[in-house]
Symmetry: C2
Subunit: 228 residues, 2 copies
DNA sequence: TACCCACTGTGTTGACCATCACAAGAATGA
DNA sequence: TCATTCTTGTGATGGTCAACACAGTGGGTA
């Protein structure tokens, strides 16, 4: 039962009415994913969605040559795989656990039945998907308008929003282990150049590393890079 | 009343139940846009959506320096501006008529009331937005994996899908006036390079121009460029 | 403790593409 | 009809960033 509670919180976090979240959670089946385990790959038929209870997952599109473009890194409280469930098409991206994770699975049939009875769920999913689309457009805009440093700044600040812990003096600790390779995947760049950029920032005191985690020392300065 | 008919078709095109489309169309108010008229700009509060009855509109994000990244070119039967209506945030892109156009406007309040009474509308919007998101992710993937020629091929074929007229011998006429600048905006490149690419294709017989319209002579060959 | 393996830092080289520059052609409208 | 403006073609040049090549680092574990 404690799982159901977390699940409820997960969906409630995203703004869904508590009663409905509870109703949905009754339909869910918990699953555990080990590190690097793949939840589904692009092309799979999509007949379910997942709420993340614990851990984190990455959503990526993988090219023929094997390089990957990350679309999102998701943590507890997020929902993943909802698209295929909503429009009935195949999965358009690959989702993989980046650490040991717990998810709760809801099958399309159950979801449809429940939502038809409770249209507020539809409204909730609509605003969720809208926001995803918004974010996707932002990323695309960043990709076309910003040079690499700007894009890395965007990515880092985004991670800060998702996984950030406030520290004194306006510093922000990104409490999540990101490798340079992951960052590179997010911004669509070569890992080496991300390394170079992070180091110049480190030298300039914009960021630092605290036991493996990146810490944004001057969020304002980083944010300025987004605009130029 | 004839306007309502067209409107009904518009939404029905996208797969909505005819009765519901009619119901929605009763809520709509027709508007005419002249060439280059701006429907709304990014940042505006979004309290309505529009169905396109006639003409075509472009959806774009515009950078501080004034260059634009096109997100979509839409024609009759398409719906635009639905995102802001669904999640209540401000407009995230700018929409502008590229020729004289007719649109039908539905206000958020009316839409909400109607959809609450007819949840099927929600399902329909969900699949619509999902597909947009899917497309956005595809574009982003193309942007990171494909070199310029591949991206131009993708854009051209996409226009072919939206505005294409089949000709004998598997040829496809893109019955819509695209400037090289528009194409460049879609693929996020400099206009000059798009010009160069189109010309090599013209020389190789992949495409041709028929009185100002591009004609895809060998769709298969163009499609091959998408994968490499 | 020592080994291993994944992650990180940095130099070098070259491809791709943006930018500038400008000429020629097409379209719009006064 | 002419002039003005928008579109297209093509060269030259340089900047950004990917690709390759390794050396250094650190955390886990046998």
């Amino acid at each position: 039962m404690h799982g159901a509670n977390i699940f409820t919180e997960s969906l409630a976090l995203a703004g869904l009415d508590p009663d409905l979240a509870t109703g949905l959670s009754d339909l869910a089946r918990e699953m555990t994913l080990s590190t690097n385990e793949v939840l589904f790959v692009a092309g799979d038929p999509g007949d379910s969605m997942y709420a993340i209870l614990e851990g984190s997952l990455k959503v990526a599109v993988i090219s023929a040559e094997g390089s990957e473009q990350l679309l999102a890194i998701l943590g507890p409280g997020h929902v993943v795989g909802e698209m295929a469930l909503l429009d009935g098409e195949a999965r358009s991206a690959t989702v993989q656990a980046i650490k040991k994770s717990q998810v709760a699975r809801i099958d399309k049939a159950d979801f449809d039945r429940f939502s038809d009875a409770n249209p507020a769920v539809y409204r909730h999913m609509l605003s969720l998907v809208s926001q995803r689309l918004r974010q996707a457009n932002d990323v695309l805009a960043a990709r076309s308008f910003l040079p690499l440093p700007g894009r890395v700044a965007v990515a880092l600040l985004q991670l800060g929003e998702t996984f950030g812990k406030e520290l004194p003096d306006d510093r922000l600790l990104v409490h999540y282990k990101v490798s340079q390779a992951d960052l590179a995947g997010m911004v669509g760049a070569a890992r080496e150049n991300v390394s170079r950029i992070l180091n110049t920032w480190k030298r300039d005191g914009l960021i630092s590393r605290i036991s493996g985690y990146y810490c944004i020392e001057k969020p304002a300065e980083l944010a300025r890079l987004k605009a130029m």
